[in-house]
Structure formats: C-alpha cells, structure tokens
Symmetry: C2
C-alpha cells in the first residue's frame, strides 16, 4: 500500500507556528504536503476567490519544512492544492493547529473549519484542529494530541465527505480529561463593538467578544465540554437545510404548487 | 402597532443595482434601513472582521436612497448595523438581490446568505434573495417577486433564528412556474483553474466553474427546481453537526471517556 498522502493547511497563514507543529507531528503517518494562506486569514470563513487570480509560491517555513504559500483564503488553498499544486490528490486534509478554539458559532466564522469542509466538497476526508487559548499556545504538545487523533481517524477509515472538527483544551490546567464526541453548540455569542474616533474624527468600530457565550454550561456540546477540559470532536456536514421547517413551510406557503408540473 | 423595521443588505456592495431594487420594492412593507459592504464581496462567505476596525459612512445610492456603507463583509455589515448603526434593532433582515443564484454548495460560499445567517445569530428572522443569471438581471421585476415573498414571510410570522434562502429563476424563459420549498442540494460542483503566466512569468490560477453541477437533475432540491424554472425557498440552519455520525463515532472512539467525569 502506498503511504498515505496528507495535505496540511490552516487559516493563520503558512508562517504561523501551529501549522509547522502540525506538519511535523503528522510526518510519521505519511507523505506531507503543505498549502496554506500567505497571510493570516482568521475569520475568513468559507471565503473563496474567483474575481481575481491566485498566486502560489513554494516557500520554506518552520525550520526544515517547505510548502505552498497561496495569496488567498483557507478554502482557496485547499481547492488550489488539490486541483493544481499537489502531484497526486491527497488522501486526507488536516487543517490547523489553529491558535484559538473553533466551537459553537465560531465554527461558522472559522477559516480553519472551512478549509476542512472544502476538502469534503472535493470528496476527501478531513479534520480541523484548534487549540484553546490560555496559558500560551504549546503547539508541540498539541501536535502530539493531533497525531493521536488523526491516527485514530485513519484507523477508523473515515470516508469521503467526513469532516471532524477537533478542539484541544488549553494545557494551563494540565492534560485533557479525554475525548468527547459532541454536537456543535448554537448558543448565541455575546459580542459588541468598541466605538472610537480615528485621528480625522471619523467613528470606527472594533469587534469585541467579551464575556462567556451562553453555552458554557452545556457539557454535552463542544462549547461546554471544551470549557470543562475535554478534547472535543464534532462531525460536521454542509447541508444547511433546516429540515424540520420544510414540512411546515410547504403547508404554509400558498403558492407552493407542488404537483402542478 | 409600530411599522415593521427592515434592514436591507447584500454582498455585491451598496452601489450594486440589486440592493437598490430590493430597498425600493420593500418600502411599502415598513421602515427600511440599508447597511451593506462598500465594495463587492461575492464569495466572502461568513467572513468577519475582528483584526481591524470597521468604518461606516452614510452614502446616497440608487437615486433617492441613503444607507450605511461598511468597509467590511456582509456579515460585518449586519452585525455592525444591528449593534451600532440602526437607531432601533430591525425586526427583519433581507439580503440581496444577489446577481446570480445561491443554491447547492454555493450557499456555503455566499456572502448574501451569510448576511442572513448573521441576523439569525442575533435572533432576527431573515431572508436571502438571489436572482439566477441569464438574459440580463431584471432587478425591478425580481423586486416584485421579492416583495411578495417577504410579505408572505411576515404574514406567516417567521420567528427568530429562521433564515429563508430564496432563489428566483432568470426571466429569460418568462415568469417563474411558482414556489417550491426544497432542501439544499449537496451535489459536488465541477470547478477547476485556468492556469496562465503573468507578465513576469509567474504562474497564476483563476477559478472556473464550468459545466453543470451534478445536482441539476434533482427536481426536489434547490438546484434542480431552480433549473426547472421555479422560485426556490430553503429554510437554513447553522448547526453544522452531522448528527447521524455522532453515535457511530462515540462507539468507535476508544478514548471517549463518557461517564468518567
């Protein structure tokens, strides 16, 4: 059997320490390709570039590593790598290690997660791996956990279209308690804006995310379990349909002419 | 009862013709506020700005209209408008009219849809409205359909957290056949990159989306029904959990220490 080919990407940019730690940690598992945004893309979500061209350059990073630096989003990096840059398509895509958790509603904003979902679109199984803030980011230590999780996912034979969103608790309270398989919390986030004036007197607004989101107390969600010190794994999908509302809307919408055609 | 307050936004930018047509079409339904990106943000998905400040300026557009021009993404525009710019929070957010359909996997890439989902995060019901390409974009005509749909949604009393993703078929084949309530297609898209060399000899890659996606022949999805000439309405949610995989993963993951704590 040929060695497993793993594409490593992220949203913090190819020069971020988390991706170097991840690429190094996964080396024992197969052949590693790296393709990641040239610059930090936190909050990029699933942005994709089609009104402008993409440039990709081979760069050295993280000491002895090389990879593709793409002047686009995380999703761009994965799509371009799979379609054009990789000599052969990867068997697995792993995105991270993100500096900061991606759980609850963050999942929707996250470029780290979007890169993994993009892989799923193309039919490649994927994992997104993020490290909760707190006590500094020990990416080497996080890499050890990431490797164990990726190894187990490979053993389980996760298939095309599978996306596992993994969050590692910060190590400031010691080792994680273990692994929890939990759904995404959809609890509302408490955010707001800092309003100030610029040197020319114009108002500007800077997004803040103070206070705990409402879902911290839900131990059976990614938000609560991570808060309690567990590694969380959430399988994701990209069918955004609210299936529970389909029936009600069909009966309520007068001009729904089902059966007329 | 005070008049309904409707926030209108989009992802094509405040100077795009679709948003002016939408704002005008919805005027009979209540008080209209407008807040939209200063520049085109197609493909922005749910990108959010937190590493830089946002500037918002009051601008005139579309003849006799005024609104907030925000130098950020569609989701930024909605969040900032609701939290800071609107005198009172809106009762409803309507995003569009987008130049081009947002159905199938497009839904994930779409800034038009993300703006509506952002409203749902904040607890405000919303609609995203897009017009399929083909035969030019007749936004005035699309506005008439948009108003009828928004009016019906208001009558139905769609609640906080509800997001309706609406696609209007192009008018080149005449009037839409009617309304279909359908799930999002998750059929893979056929895309690729045009590879060329820039004036300095560097390779660049430009995303193409040639050919029909595989889901055109699925009449019971947004992709197929729109292709067949129907207005499609898809209720959306933002819980990305693949619930069907939770049980399997829990039994398969050896280090899942449920019950240990």
């Amino acid at each position: 059997m040929p060695p497993m080919r793993i594409l490593v990407t992220n949203d913090d940019g190819i020069l971020a320490p988390g991706i170097a730690a991840l690429a190094r940690a996964l080396r024992p598992l197969g052949e590693i390709d790296v393709a990641a945004p040239a610059s930090g893309q936190s909050g990029a979500a699933h942005a994709i570039t089609f009104m402008a061209p993409l440039i990709a350059e081979r760069v050295a990073f993280g000491g002895d590593l090389t990879g593709w630096s793409v002047d686009g989003s995380p999703a761009d990096s994965v799509k371009l790598a799979v379609r054009e840059l990789c000599e052969r398509p990867p068997d697995l895509v792993v995105s991270g290690i993100n500096a900061g958790a991606n759980r609850g509603i963050d999942v929707i904003y996250s470029g780290t997660v979007a890169a993994a979902v993009e892989a799923a679109f193309i039919g490649i199984p994927s994992l997104a791996i993020s490290l909760q803030a707190g006590g500094g980011f020990d990416f080497e230590r996080a890499g050890t956990h990431a490797r164990a999780i990726v190894e187990r996912a490979i053993e389980l034979g996760i298939g095309p279209g599978t996306v596992l969103n993994v969050n590692l608790p910060s190590f400031e309270r010691g080792e994680p308690k273990g692994v929890r398989i939990v759904p995404q919390s959809t609890a509302p986030w408490s955010d707001g804006y800092l309003r100030r004036e610029d040197p020319r007197g114009r108002a500007y607004f800077w997004l803040t995310a103070e206070g705990d989101p409402g879902g911290m107390g839900q131990p059976d969600t990614d938000l609560g379990a991570l808060h309690d010190g567990w590694i969380t794994i959430t399988p994701l999908q990209y069918d955004l349909t609210q299936h529970a509302q389909l029936g009600w809307l069909r009966s309520a919408w007068p001009s729904d002419a089902r059966g007329r055609d």
